[in-house]
C-alpha cells in the first residue's frame, strides 16, 4: 500500500509538471538604444539633474540619431535641445524630444504607406509591425503632446485605433482602408510640431 501511495504522489507531481510544460516563453518587448537614452535624459531632467541629462544626451544615441536625421527634422532641433539642457530649461528639453519622436513616428507612418503602396498584398503582420513601432515612439511623448495639443493626442489615438482594427480584421492587408489611416497618422503627427 505504501509503495502504491508513493507512486500516486510521484505521478501527481509529474503530471502537473507535464500539463504546464508545453509553453514557449513570454516575450516582453525591450526598449531600443534610442528610447533607453530618451528615458535616461527625461528622468534626469525630471530629477533636476541637468548635468547628468546633458552628459547622457551628449554621449548617447539620441543625439547621434538627431544628427543623422537632421534633414527630416526642424532646422537646429538638436542644437536647441542641447541649449535647453544647458539652460536647465525642462520645458524646452521636453519640446525638443517630443518633436524628435513625433518626427520618428511620422516617418514610420509615411514609410508604411509607401511600402503598402508598393506591395498591396503585403501580410497584415507587416502593417501591424509598423503600427507597433509608430505607437512605441508616439507613446513616449503622448503626455507631452496631450498637454500642448490635446486635440492632436485624441486624433492620434482615434487614428491608431482605426488602423489597428483594420490590421486585425484580415490576414491580408486591406490597403484601401489602411493606407489612408497611415497617411492620417503622418498628417496628425506633422501638425503636432513644426516638422518639415
Amino acid at each position: 500500500m505504501m509503495r502504491a501511495t508513493l507512486s500516486v504522489m510521484l505521478l501527481a507531481v509529474v503530471g502537473a509538471t507535464q500539463a504546464g510544460a508545453h509553453h514557449t516563453g513570454v516575450y516582453a518587448p525591450k526598449d531600443n538604444a534610442i528610447t533607453t537614452n530618451f528615458r535616461d535624459v527625461k528622468f534626469s531632467v525630471q530629477a533636476g539633474k541637468f548635468d547628468v541629462a546633458l552628459r547622457r544626451f551628449d554621449e548617447g544615441p539620441l543625439r547621434t540619431e538627431m544628427r543623422a536625421r537632421a534633414a527630416s527634422l526642424p532646422a537646429g532641433l538638436e542644437a536647441r535641445t542641447r541649449a535647453a539642457l544647458e539652460a536647465r530649461d525642462a520645458a524646452g528639453v521636453e519640446h525638443g524630444l517630443m518633436t524628435f519622436f513625433l518626427a520618428l513616428a511620422r516617418d514610420l507612418a509615411r514609410e508604411a504607406d509607401h511600402q503598402l503602396a508598393a506591395a498591396p498584398s503585403a501580410p497584415a503582420a507587416t502593417a501591424q509591425r509598423f503600427l507597433e513601432a509608430i505607437w512605441r515612439y508616439y507613446n513616449l511623448v503622448d503626455f507631452a503632446v496631450s498637454q500642448r495639443h490635446p486635440s492632436t493626442s485624441t486624433a492620434m489615438r482615434l487614428a491608431y485605433d482605426e488602423a489597428d482594427s483594420a490590421v486585425r480584421a484580415a490576414p491580408a492587408v486591406d490597403t484601401t482602408r489602411l493606407r489612408p489611416t497611415f497617411r492620417r497618422i503622418a498628417e496628425i503627427l506633422s501638425r503636432a510640431a513644426p516638422l518639415q
Binding site: 509503495r3 510521484l10 505521478l11 509529474v14 518587448p29 509591425r129
Partner: protein, 178 residues
Amino acid sequence: MTGTNEEVWHLPPRAVLLAAILLLLAAEVGGASMGRYKLELARWARAEMQARPAVHGLVGVRDVDERILDEAIFRVDAGLRLFHMHAEGMALVIIATTTVAVTLARRAATRRALLLLLTLGGIGYPLGYLLWSVLIPTLGIERGKALAERLLWLPFGGATILGLAWLSALIAVRMARR
C-alpha cells in the same frame, strides 16, 4: 532492490537508465553551451534571419526590424533554455516513472509498453524545444513551432501522457485490489 518481496522497488532496464543519463548529459552540455556561446548563437540567428527577410517579415526599416529580430533571438534563447530545463526534468521523470512501472506492472507486455512510452516520450519531448530553436532562424517563430509540434512535441509528449495515464490506472487498480 530486485528481491522477491512484493514491497521491494525494482530497477528499470539498463538501456532505460542509460537513455535517461544521456538525456541529462545533453541537458547539461546544452545549458553550458548556451551560456558559453550566447553571443555567437545570437549572431548566427541574426545573420540567418537577415538572410531571409521575407520569412521573418523584415521591412528594411530599422525601427521595425529590430523588434522582430529581438523577439526571434529571444525565442531561440528561450527554446534552448526550455530544452535544458525539460531535458533535465524529463531524465529524472524517466528514471522515476519507469521504476514505478517495472515494480508494479506484472505482465511483461504491459511493462515493455510502459517502458517504451515513458522512455521514448521523455527523451523526444525536450528535443522539440531544441528543434524549435534551430528552426526559428530559417523558418520563423510560428512555422518552426508548428513543425516542432508535429514532429516531436505532440507524438512524444503524447506518449509520455499516455504512459503516465496508463501507469496511474495501473496503480489505481493495484490500490483498489488491496
